[in-house]
Amino acid sequence: MDLQQLNLKFFVEDPSGVDLALLPVIFNRWIKEKVAEELLIDVADYRHVFHGPGVVLIGHECNFSMDCGGGRLGLLYNRKSKMSGNDEERLQKVFKATLTACRRLELDPLWKDGLTFQGDEFQLIINDRLLAPNTDETLQKLQPTLLPFLARFYKGANLVVNRDENEKQRFSMAVRSDTTFSVEELLANLS
């Protein structure tokens, strides 16, 4: 299939210790220091909204947000512009960009009590209802690319995959491995 508009979210391990008010400071610094490959443009603060996008770092090719969607805090990568390459290369690119941002956040000195992402679980969304209707058929089309990719990514760990079957939602799946991984390890697995 033509994998585009991928969204990927890794969750924060202990959200109770995260002061979201620091995110505008951190994301503005990312823009200033041009830390990412992608063009970073602006910061949108939606902390006032219930289970919303939290704080969004708006970019040209993609957005990064410390997202509160579904009531779970995590770093959401939202790919907006078209990607070149084959589907596997696109998955690789999206996972790398997301995990690089997660790691960058983990290492940020502003967090007094640290910040850690859970490596063993993620949510993958295809943000295009026409390219990827929320059906079993889409899942079947995705599997030949996704499963080998995940086998490498999680080093053969057992995985549980759940598709959100709410037809009003975008195609979305939650993946959980039975083995714990740090963000750093996952980045190494990608290389």
Partner: protein
């Protein structure tokens, strides 16, 4: 931008009226032509604006990072979608929702579009529109097609057009209305949409409907054209019509609408609207956009002459069946409840329900049914919330959903017996916050978050105030809870700061070589009576001290108000001089090295700027004198306000003019230090040195504020009425603000004051 854009066109073929599909196809072609350089950028800009596709902050490809201005390296760097507007820069899509009316299906599509093309947030505006931000221009045709497939248009949502027609969200269910204005608002919206007579305006044109005079819901008084429902008995028969107003408007200098007709019969509504459109297109200002709104034409002609011309135009119009066709259906019931009446249940009351019931629910005229208001923080709602809300609405009401000018959403025809259940369902998705229409329900325009014109962060301030007030909302006395706060990021009034109890608009001040975000405090505005009167700015408060200002003002109001005295009456009684005195310590800004937090705005950690300005290299003493004189000019504006408050209109108008002269002299002094104090010389030197050179020009408003001075100077000897004095004070305030900005720009550019000889003295 999106991979599926082409496929959406195919998918939605036949799912919208043919002419709409054709319009979007044409727009898509225009996008292609612009990409090929075959359409000139100004023309393309107007083309997209007329389809609701608006620019956004930083779309010139530059952004201040707190220390310096960075170039944003967009891929299509040389391609533009308008003057100084980079093609790839994210923009805003405005979506028209006539009278705020929505269906559940439309809510779901808005949810999908917000997450697929924007940032997962849909924003309700003060004109009952929706806005999506950070949208790529190449996605906009698809977005329009998906909207059109569910009956929504973006056409004429921006640009010099008839904007979204607004109406009271309680129309049809209100206990006080004369009759339901909904069918009239709908008819007016679609009659004027794309009408040949509305395509050649010099500026935008706003229309509103209200079912009654006394409430605020329609805000008729601040519209170019406003209609208030009125019934009249004629020969024993009841006739419907409207108290019909024209020439109102906020903007930098607000005008109250003038009564065009005490009773415009319903069948005359559309032909009169058409005649007004024709007169506005023909006689309205076209070159100077700062005086191009209908309010200026009405003001210049006088209401009697304007009325005469419109009626003459009306008499010459060729009859159009559309004028009255819709009238055959207005009496048909357009809305019905989903559920038949049922007895109130006796379940235990959920926690928080009573408070929500008190502030967010209004009983309908129809016994047993109610309107539930969903208070949206800063007008924002997530895609997930919109989708869930559609589901909730389906369970409780038919498609009887509306947005409001207070940036909320209402569900109409909720069975009273179901209110507890509704509350619980809304609470589940975070939409059961109490306090709708109270002090915590703050209205704010986008401000510096996304608006190119924003000076200060209206949303950042609103979020901060909302958090602080919500924390102690339960302990606030009713009198304070009933107050309204409205915030604009600049003088342009999109946050409607003129008509609230406590209004604020963003300005800046230059302090010790740094720029500091401030908000002008506006008091005396009236929200009720369809926005009955406009407030005036009293003083500029550093942004970081606005919460303290609100606290101090509300505390004083509680302490000193007389029995049941309104806030507006309280302000009038104790006087603006006293209010300013009690806030004086809050107006001071600590030096940067003592407290740098004052030098950044709410919600934005970057050091504040009003442009790409760095830290200025002031020339000490001379600039200090300029700053001193600007402060004196500001004081003089305030004294003019005090005179106005005392009913001394002549004095008020003259003082306002003197304030402008003083500010102009301060500005001139930056180049011509010993400029004499005669009015004629000041105006001449100002014109030659700062107006004709455009040094005084606002980056967006151009020479507008300079023109205020010239007009005031030309009319220095006129007699002032209450209204004209009020307007002169507004102009003086804006002129002084512009003088501050000019001084900041010149200082930052390192252009030092010079004691040069008088400029161009030979000029007349």
């Amino acid at each position: 931008m999106k991979a599926s854009n082409g496929a959406w066109r195919e998918r939605l073929l036949g799912r919208m009226p043919e002419h709409v599909a054709r319009e979007v196809d044409i727009y898509e072609t225009e996008i292609e032509l612009r990409k090929q350089g075959k359409i000139e950028e100004k023309l393309f800009a107007e083309t997209r604006l007329r389809r609701g596709v608006y620019g956004q902050r930083y779309d010139n490809g530059q952004r201040w990072d707190g220390e310096k201005t960075q170039q944003l390296g967009f891929p299509s760097a040389t391609l533009t979608k308008g003057p100084s507007t980079v093609w790839d820069a994210p923009g805003m899509q405005r979506i028209k929702i006539p009278f705020g009316g929505l269906t559940t299906l439309q809510l779901e599509v808005l949810a999908e579009l917000a997450e697929e093309y924007s940032d997962g947030i849909a924003h309700v505006t003060t004109r009952q529109d929706f806005q999506l931000h950070f949208v790529h221009i190449e996605d906009t045709p698809t977005l329009m097609r998906r909207l059109a497939a569910v009956g929504i248009t973006t056409r004429e949502a921006c640009g010099n057009t008839v904007r979204n027609v607004t109406a009271c969200p309680y129309a049809g269910v209100c206990r006080d209305e004369a009759f339901d204005v909904t069918p009239y608002a709908r008819a007016c919206a679609y009659f004027l949409l794309g009408h040949p007579d509305t395509q050649d305006f010099g500026r935008k044109f706003k229309v509103a409907f209200s079912g009654c005079e006394q409430h605020a819901c329609g805000l008729v008084n601040l519209h170019d054209m406003g209609a208030v429902a009125v019934k009249r008995l004629e020969n024993g028969k009841e006739r419907r019509g409207f108290a019909f107003y024209v020439g109102g408007g906020l903007g930098a200098v607000p005008h109250s609408a003038k009564l065009f007709s005490e009773f415009l019969p319903e069948e005359e509504l559309l032909p009169t609207a058409q005649a007004i459109s024709r007169v506005f297109a023909r006689m309205g200002e076209k070159k100077n956009r700062n005086r191009a709104r209908l309010k200026f034409l009405v003001s210049d002609l006088g209401i009697e002459e304007f009325r005469r011309i419109v009626l003459e135009e009306r008499a010459q119009l060729a009859p159009d069946p559309a004028w009255t066709d819709y009238l055959k259906k207005v009496d048909a019931v357009t809305e019905t409840p989903l559920k038949l009446l049922a007895p109130l249940n006796s379940h235990s009351v959920p926690e928080g329900f009573e408070r929500w019931l008190q502030t967010n629910v209004a009983r309908q005229r129809q016994a047993g049914y109610a309107v539930a208001t969903i208070a949206l923080p800063l007008g924002d709602i997530t895609s997930d919330q919109l989708r869930s809300l559609a589901g909730i609405a389906r369970r409780h009401v038919n498609d009887t959903i509306r947005t409001t000018v207070e940036q909320n959403i209402v569900l109409r025809w909720v069975r009273e017996a179901d209110l507890q259940q509704l509350y619980l369902e809304l609470k589940e998705i975070g939409l059961a916050e109490p306090g709708a229409g109270t002090i915590v329900d703050i209205v704010a325009c986008p401000g510096t978050d996304t608006c190119k014109l924003g000076i200060a962060s209206s949303r950042g301030l609103a979020a901060e105030l909302r958090t602080r007030l919500a924390e102690r909302n339960h302990e606030l006395e009713q009198a304070v809870q009933n107050l309204h706060i409205k915030i604009s990021g600049c003088f342009n009034s999109c946050g409607q700061h003129h008509i609230s109890d406590l209004g604020f608009y963003g300005v800046s001040r230059h302090v010790g070589g740094h720029t500091v975000p401030h908000f002008q405090l506006v008091l005396g505005g009236q929200w009720a009576q369809n926005a009955g009167s406009y407030g005036l700015a009293i003083c500029a408060i550093p942004a970081k001290r606005v919460p303290e200002t609100v606290q101090r003002l509300t505390d004083r109001y509680l302490k000193d108000r007389e029995r049941a005295e309104s806030f507006q009456s309280f302000v009038k009684r104790i006087g603006k001089a006293e209010i300013k005195r009690m806030l004086e310590d809050l107006m001071r800004v600590p030096p940067h090295n003592e407290d740098p937090s004052f030098y950044s705005d709410w919600g934005d950690p970057r050091e504040f700027t009003i442009g790409d300005m760095g830290v200025g290299e002031c020339a000490g003493e001379v600039v200090s004198r300029v700053a001193f004189e600007l402060a004196a000019a500001e004081r003089e504006v305030f004294e003019a306000q005090v005179s106005l408050e005392r009913g001394e209109y002549q004095q008020a108008g003259e003082k306002a003019y003197q304030a402008m002269l003083q500010a102009a002299r301060a500005v001139v002094r930056m180049q011509y230090y010993d400029v004499p104090g005669e009015a004629e010389t000041i105006v001449r030197e100002f014109k030659a040195r700062f107006y004709e050179t455009q040094l005084f020009f606002d980056p967006f408003a151009g020479g507008k504020f300079g023109q205020f001075l010239f007009r005031a100077h030309e009319r220095a000897a006129v007699s002032f009425t209450q209204e004209s004095a009020h307007q002169r004070i507004e102009e003086a305030q804006l002129f002084v603000e512009a003088a501050y900005s000019c001084e900041a720009r010149v200082s930052a550019a390192g252009s030092l004051p010079k004691a040069s000889p008088p400029a161009l003295q030979s000029r007349s």
